[in-house]
């Protein structure tokens, strides 16, 4: 028999028992749908993590001051200022793998307009900071070197702050706000950046020149840089090298003897990103393997029904053999039946899985991502299950003895 003919016979046989065929496929449908939906959720989470790390800034290192030692209890990093403005300059000029380095002095303060107020994070920094974070402007301009040198009273607002103070769709560039009773002119509004991987809103912040911050918000110029230094490495390959070189430079500058702890910390955010990604990948694998178990159960269901079907149709098999069916014709027929069941189940399952991934995204706001490879893999795997679990019943059918099969009651 030609393959097409075999398929026709198999489909015909399955359609004679529509309800049973459907119930048999149900296991497969649910299995494949579960795999598709679970992987979509996992992939969606992964894509979200990737995207939020990308928005954090590429090849980012954060250098912070050391810790205080008060009566034997150590404070966190950054509690004791050890970094100096000279350190910053040295990092900028002496390490070739560093592309940008920017100071970030941070404080929480109230920002006031004529009739509104909003407490937010106020940071003093330099224009390089926005390069490191690949953060662009929605309107207006960044402040430049002359504003830094002159300690100009200019401010950049994040989107959330604009929303809170002026409402959406308002461009406040040129207006005045007061921070700690000092009037600042708004020179720009930053583009929306979204959430950090830890769920913090990047856009709930305002930025002023670091010199202005020191003079007006911190109060008085200082030798120490009481904040952190954000470093953008030249590329992702050089990030780790830049980290080591900065550590070496700072230890040297701070005269730290070998064997003594650093009085600063350097965090590599690329590393954190890949750790997080591994986490979501583990989750995807876990979800997918749970779903794969249901696929397996679906396969066993097919095997069960195929065995029942072989027993039930023993006389039919005997007759087919009597009129000229070769063992391999019978083998092919039952194998194709199992394959058709699982393949149809796979296809319907893909439809259902994609639909439920879409529903989940809509209903719970979960990010889901259905990749075409997963569909191909799921359908291919379900076909494999069909062949795997259909083989035994089909072999059993093909090995029947025609006379005994014909006599079977």
């Amino acid at each position: 028999m030609t393959p097409l003919e075999t398929l026709r016979v198999a489909v015909y046989a399955l359609l004679r028992n529509k309800l049973r065929s459907f119930l048999t496929t149900l296991g497969m449908i649910i299995g494949v749908a579960a795999v598709i939906a679970m992987v979509a959720i996992g992939e969606g989470a992964k894509a979200q993590v990737e995207q939020s790390f990308a928005s954090m800034g590429a090849n980012l290192l954060v250098v912070q001051s050391g810790t205080t030692m008060a009566g034997g209890s150590r404070g966190g990093f950054g509690t004791l200022p050890t970094l100096t403005w000279e350190d910053l300059k040295a990092i900028q000029t002496e390490i070739p793998s560093v592309r940008y380095a920017a100071p970030v002095l941070r404080s929480n303060a109230q920002v006031l307009t004529e009739d509104q107020n909003w407490t937010t994070s106020v940071s003093g920094t330099t224009p390089e900071y926005f390069e490191i974070r690949s953060w662009s402007m929605a309107s207006g301009t960044f402040f430049g070197q002359s504003e830094i040198d002159g300690g100009a009273k200019v401010v950049l607002l994040g989107q959330t702050v604009v929303d809170k103070l002026y409402g959406p769709y308002v461009d406040p560039v040129g207006q005045m706000v007061r921070i700690m009773n000092v009037p600042f002119q708004i020179v720009g509004v930053l583009a929306k950046k979204g959430q950090s991987p830890m769920g913090q809103d990047y856009d709930d912040a305002v930025f002023v020149p670091c010199t202005t911050f020191q003079a007006k918000i911190q109060g008085g110029l200082q030798k120490y840089l009481s904040g952190s230094i954000f470093v953008g490495a030249a590329s992702s390959e050089t990030t780790a090298r830049a980290q080591a070189q900065i550590a070496e430079l700072l230890r040297d500058r701070h005269h730290i003897q070998p064997g003594i702890d650093d009085d600063f910390s350097i965090r590599n955010l690329t590393e954190m990103a890949s750790a997080q990604q591994e986490g979501t990948e583990t989750m995807t694998t876990l979800l997918a393997s749970i779903a794969a178990v249901s696929l397996l159960v679906g396969g066993i269901g097919i095997m069960n029904i195929m065995l029942v079907s072989v027993t039930e149709r023993t006389r039919e098999i005997g007759l087919r053999m009597a009129v000229g069916a070769k063992p391999r014709d019978i083998l092919a027929q039952f194998l194709v039946e199992a394959l058709a069941l699982s393949f149809a189940g796979g296809l319907i399952g893909v439809g259902l899985g994609v639909m439920s991934a879409y529903r989940l995204a809509l209903q719970f706001g979960w990010p889901t991502l259905v990749r075409p490879e997963i569909i191909v893999i799921a359908v291919g795997f379900s076909a494999l299950v069909g062949v795997g679990f259909g083989l035994y019943p089909a072999l059993k059918a093909s090995r029947l003895d025609p006379i005994n099969a014909l006599r079977f009651e």
Partner: protein, 248 residues
């Protein structure tokens, strides 16, 4: 009497069934030759080995001893696949219990052997229709077995046996499940096939059925008791039924 040139040649054929430690000898030392164009009736008591003999003749089973030559070819050593091909091309089977596929139309039932002969769907349908016309069922093409009488079902089965244009028809008690009037109709059909040149071997319990054959082989305990050639009685369904009605 068993010339090597016969259509069917059995030489010292034996068949022993083994069930655990018990051995049942169903056939012992059977030698038989059947020429092309004979109509052979096989008779004998229940358990005498008639069906066993038919199964071997029909290549459904292999002898445990002896040789079986069909149209000059030794089939006793063939593989399952080769036997299937022989059954498909050379033989047509008619069973006592019809053995039609349920919920399957007459044409599709009749076309079944052609599926395994690699005949296209359209040609299959055409030839099945032709075979059904030959057995007088041109108006029942799309009926399912459950929608037909026993005699009609057996005629569908005969059409199925005919459709591959075999040289040998094997019928194991083809009228066993039918009343006498329908039996005569089936016999008339088998005689018609025989007259057109086919070889027919038929098992029956009833003497008056065996009378329609040109040769009667009597079996007992797995052996051939007697083998007689005779003048076949002409089966005429019309005459038979007319007589039956007259009697009533």
């Amino acid at each position: 009497m068993t010339g090597n040139d016969s259509f069917i040649v059995l030489r010292q054929v034996g068949k022993i069934y083994r069930m655990g430690d018990v051995e049942v000898t169903a056939l012992r030392d059977i030698s038989l030759g059947i020429q092309e164009g004979e109509f052979v009736a096989v008779m004998g008591a229940s358990g005498s080995g008639k069906s066993t003999l038919m199964n071997i003749l029909g290549c459904l089973d292999r002898p445990t001893a002896g040789r079986y030559l069909l149209a000059g070819r030794d089939v006793s050593q063939m593989s399952r696949g080769e036997l299937a091909a022989i059954r498909n091309r050379m033989l047509g089977f008619v069973f006592q219990s019809f053995n039609l596929l349920a919920r399957t139309s007459a044409v599709d039932n009749v076309g079944l052997p052609l599926q395994y002969a690699g005949v296209s769907y359209r040609e299959r349908h055409q030839r099945a229709e032709e075979a059904l016309r030959q057995v007088g069922l041109a108006d029942r093409l799309h009926h399912h077995p459950s929608q037909m009488s026993g005699g009609q079902q057996q005629r569908v089965a005969i059409a199925r046996a005919l459709v591959t244009k075999p040289r040998l028809i094997l019928a194991d008690e083809p009228t066993g499940n039918l009343d006498s009037r329908t039996s005569t109709e089936i016999l008339a059909l088998l005689q018609e096939l025989w007259r057109s040149g086919l070889t027919v071997v038929m098992v029956t319990h009833e003497l008056d059925i065996a009378e329609y054959a040109s040769r009667v082989v009597m079996m007992k305990d797995g052996c051939i008791l007697s083998d007689t050639r005779r003048q076949a009685r002409v089966a005429d369904a019309a005459v038979e039924s007319a007589t039956a009605e007259a009697v009533l």
